[in-house]
């Protein structure tokens, strides 16, 4: 694919980087990325990937924009209150970069539709707000061998990791099981600093771009933890669990399933 004059100008700061160059930018333009959740994390991830010129960007969300979202969900505005979040973000991203084919998928992801939804994409980004969906996305990505860039936030703390199925641990290797329902406060109760998803989402977008251009070290086998109050970035190792129920030697999970909604954290 040849770039137009306008595109050469738009992406000139990328193209001038030896690690990206014209070839890398072409890979970015050809890439197809699916983001689950067009909220706190999905907004900055999608915003930066749209700016970078990712060819196809799918956003999966069936919620509508609410006023309490606007403290952090920067792709939405007072003009899109009540509008589906995927639609709202699509408008914003298209205004930033008309090159990008933004696809709004106004569905709640579940065990029935997930494989069909992700199968045509190169990379999946997790920006969801609950454990059952996180485990479901992980399992589906392991089954279809899709790279998954996972991010999570709560209060003043964020976590990021990149999962490359077949080449490192998965989310179930990291946390064997979700916290039991009832033990944990919801995100709405616990709160989140508005800029925190910006930091974590920007890290996720960075991981996505690195995977697309094939440069640098992916954040695989490691969990990056950001503590905004203490200004700490820490990494811990995620060993691959040979007994992992989905990516281990004898996987017990053979089919995807939905579990009841649970929330947040300890």
């Amino acid at each position: 694919m040849e770039f137009t004059e306008e595109q050469l100008k738009r992406y000139s700061r990328h193209i001038i980087l030896p690690e990206v160059g014209g070839k890398g930018q072409q890979k970015i333009s050809a890439a197809k990325v699916l983001i689950v959740g067009a909220g706190g994390l999905g907004c900055p991830v999608g915003y930066y990937l749209a700016a970078a010129g990712v060819g196809t960007l799918a956003l999966v969300d069936n919620d509508a924009v609410e006023l309490s979202n606007l403290q952090r969900q920067i792709a939405h505005s007072v003009k899109t209150l009540g509008v589906n979040k995927a639609d709202s973000a699509k408008k914003t991203f298209e205004a930033l970069n008309p090159d990008v084919n933004v696809i709004a998928i106004k569905e709640r992801i579940n065990s029935k539709n997930i494989l069909e939804l992700i199968k045509d994409y190169d990379i999946v980004v997790d920006g969801t707000d609950n454990f059952p969906t996180r485990y479901l996305i992980n399992d589906a990505c392991v089954m279809l061998k899709k790279p998954l860039v996972s991010g999570a936030i709560l209060r003043f703390e964020g976590q990021v990791t990149t999962i490359l199925p077949g080449d490192g641990p998965c989310y179930r290797c990291l946390f064997e099981e979700p916290p039991p329902a009832g033990l944990v406060p919801s995100c709405q109760e616990a709160g989140v600093l508005g800029v925190l998803p910006g930091v974590i989402g920007a890290l996720q977008a960075t991981e996505v771009l690195k995977l697309i251009i094939g440069k640098g070290k992916p954040l695989k086998g490691q969990l990056l933890i950001y503590d905004a109050l203490g200004v700490n970035f820490r990494k811990v190792k995620i060993p691959k669990n040979s007994d992992c129920p989905i990516c281990g030697e004898n996987p017990k999970i053979k089919e995807l399933s939905d579990s009841p909604e649970q929330y947040c954290s300890i």
Binding site: G39, A152, F156, D227, K237, I238, P239, S265
Partner: protein
Amino acid sequence: MAVRVKIPVPLQRLTQGKEEVEGDSGTVISLITNLDRKYPGLGERISEGGKLRRFVNVYVNEEDVRFLKNEETEVKDGDEVSIVPAIAGGAS
């Protein structure tokens, strides 16, 4: 020199807002039991019946203790222990 224990943000309200506390050398479970005396409630958030909860990970110098000796993993003075719970926030 003691064991440095990194407290995750959701548990810092049990440690008077401290992001790092000092603990005693020994095993991971004795460290947690001793910390619970100083910071009541911390122990049950991380462990149950002497076992680590499965949705909270404990790392000794970046190594996941599940792949060492779990609760019985030794911690020495100068080690850094990180408590890392699963969190799920993102969209709503």
